[in-house]
């Protein structure tokens, strides 16, 4: 029977995972991802991988550690290598969306329905001649 991850965790298991996760903040990110350090500049994951800033690399490393701590037992070495690569590849997308300047009032779009409802409201407001 396969072990169910995602079921209720025991206190000891929770503590073990928490320790693993918190360890990411003291271990060198480059060491965790086995990546060469570029000495303060950008980091290169591998020949074909994305260039990451030290912060980006730290985050990708933490992400990788999180996957390992939760699901590492079921991954073989090849899969771990791929997961590591995917963690690094995800980072530029996250950095990119975070870099876009959003204002506090920029709310999330959920479905299109609100978009139409807004249009309707605008139409009825202008029809009434009110601001």
């Amino acid at each position: 029977m396969k072990k169910r991850i995602g079921a209720v965790l025991s206190r000891r298991e929770f503590a073990r995972r928490a320790a693993l996760l918190s360890a990411t903040s003291v271990v060198s990110p480059a060491a965790m991802l086995d990546l060469p350090s570029a000495g303060g500049g950008d980091y290169q994951v591998d020949a074909g991988g994305p260039k990451l800033s030290p912060e980006g690399q730290a985050e990708a490393s933490a992400r990788y550690q999180q996957v390992l701590s939760l699901y590492g037992e079921r991954l073989n070495d090849e899969q771990k290598t791929r997961v590591k690569k995917m963690c690094a590849e995800l980072q530029p997308a996250l950095d990119h969306i975070r870099s876009y300047e959003l204002e506090n009032g920029n709310a999330p779009a959920l479905y299109l329905k609100p978009l139409y409802e807004r249009e309707k409201r605008q139409q009825s407001t202008s029809a009434n001649g009110k601001p």
């Binding site: 396969k2 996250l94 969306i97 920029n106 999330p108 139409y116």
Partner: protein, 469 residues
């Protein structure tokens, strides 16, 4: 068996003959079934054929029509449904081994709509496992194996509506239903040389369809022409009180009448200059000819460009997060390892780590982008570009290497829920189809259908068919 030319006839042409009782729905169904049995397995096009259901529905249709109760243009017309749409009592595998024995006790809303207008379901179309939501590296990422392209069986159909594309292109059914979260109707339509409509988000109920990305999944028709797509779309569109993502009644419904000629209006076309970074030379020739044809037959064709920004990344973050939630149980239980594709087996673990803050940021970017696209559509009714910058790829290609490139139009279109139509616009020297894509503002599905219809009135690419022995 009926002659091949009839099996490649459009829904409109078949409907005329059925309505006038010159063509028997039963005979038509038997012919498609026979052809599907013969060629379907060679192409890996079907997840399963459902001859008992098909013949039962065809006999009912025939009886009704004989009695003078003609339901409309899809009455007695055979079709295939992507295997992520629930059909009562018949396995719905979602293209994945894990769900090979899954059977629902109800029909998806789309299946129900098509049943109500008298269409005949021939079978379930093969698809990429879980519609590709977990990521995939190879065309073989499917319970049925790789679907072969009828134009060249050493090439792929694209995914995830792989079977739907192959079935229409090979003349195994009059039309098929596909779904798109990002590219899954447009890409197979282009690779297979068929017409495919990705409707505005929320116009077609997804009740009973596998959920991949709750805010991006759409269901649409793949058929022989833009006009056929309009007919089928009219049958499946509409508000569904049981699917809260559907648009209100007045926004969701779509009516089509050939007499109204798709409510013709002069369309302003924006020819996109930044839809693709590079276009393969084999595609460029057909695309240039399509551009010329548009300039000849539309009152205004001007260059246009998509807004720059992190839109594709936002779409990726939303999709990855929503799919990891939709299949959280599969991932956390480890059963995701049963998927065929090496990427699909592990990508979910990475996606689960995306934070709520990043997901929300992506949703906020969607709002910004919707505003920018609304502004762009003040100047154009329809945007046009190549559906894909290259033709069908080899079956064994590593997709990470050969079919992985920026797709701002796909990202933007799907992030904002915009309608798109892919129509064939020529061939490469190796006789592989090339697709032309039209995109319009949310809710203006009529504009892309009208653009496609006008284009097809002046070209005959949609009437070309592969030679299959």
């Amino acid at each position: 068996m009926l002659k091949e030319s009839l099996l490649y006839a459009s829904v409109g042409e078949l409907a005329k003959q059925i309505e006038s009782k010159q063509l028997s729905p039963v005979e038509l169904t038997e012919s498609y079934l026979e052809r599907s049995e013969k060629l379907g397995s060679r192409l890996n096009a079907y997840a399963r054929l459902t001859p008992t259901v098909a013949l039962e529905q065809a006999k009912i249709a025939e009886k009704e029509i004989r009695r003078g109760h003609y339901r409309g243009p899809l009455h007695g017309i055979p079709y295939a449904a992507k295997d992520l749409l629930a059909v009562k009592g018949i396995p719905t595998t979602w293209g994945a081994k894990t769900y090979a024995d899954q059977v629902f006790d109800y029909n998806a809303a789309v299946i129900e709509h098509l049943k109500n207008v008298g269409a005949v379901m021939l079978g379930k179309a093969a698809m990429i496992e879980l519609a590709g939501g977990m990521g995939y590296t190879f065309a073989s990422a499917s319970l049925q194996g790789e679907t072969k392209n009828p134009w060249n069986t050493t090439c792929w159909t694209c995914g995830s509506s792989s079977g739907s594309g192959a079935i229409v292109a090979a003349g195994l059914a009059a039309f098929a239903i596909g779904t798109e979260t990002w590219g899954s109707i447009v890409c197979p339509s282009a690779f297979c040389g068929v017409s495919g409509l990705r409707p505005t988000y929320g116009r077609v109920s997804r009740r009973g369809a596998m959920a991949l990305s709750y805010s991006m999944d759409k269901i649409g028709p793949m058929a022989r022409s833009a006009e056929d797509c309009a007919r089928i779309f009219a049958a499946i569109a509409g508000h569904d009180p049981l699917d809260r993502s559907t648009l209100p009644v007045d926004r969701a419904a779509f009516t089509y009448s050939p007499a109204a000629d798709l409510k013709s209006r002069p369309l302003r076309i924006g020819w996109l200059t930044n839809a693709w970074k590079e276009v393969d030379p084999s595609v460029k020739k057909a695309l240039d000819a399509a551009h010329k044809a548009l300039a000849q037959h539309f009152p205004s064709v001007r260059e246009a460009s998509l807004p720059e920004g992190p839109w594709e990344d936002a779409a990726n973050v939303i999709l990855s997060t929503e799919v990891s939630s939709a299949f959280s149980g599969l991932i956390r239980s480890g059963r995701v390892n049963e998927l065929t594709d090496p990427r699909g087996q592990i990508a979910g673990y990475v996606n689960l780590t995306i934070s709520g803050a990043d997901y929300n940021t992506a949703l906020r970017l969607r709002e910004i982008l919707q505003g920018k696209m609304t502004e762009l559509f003040d100047s154009y009714d329809v945007l046009a570009a190549a559906s894909l910058p290259l033709p069908a790829t080899p079956l064994n290609l590593d997709l990470d290497k050969g079919l992985s490139f920026p797709d701002p139009l796909g990202g933007i279109g799907n992030l904002c829920g915009l309608p798109a139509l892919s129509v064939p616009c020529g061939f490469t020297e190796k006789k592989l189809p090339v697709g032309l894509q039209f995109v319009a503002k949310a809710g203006d599905d009529m504009a892309v259908l009208q653009a496609g219809k006008i284009f097809q009135q002046h070209t005959d690419w949609h009437r070309k068919h592969p030679t299959l022995n």
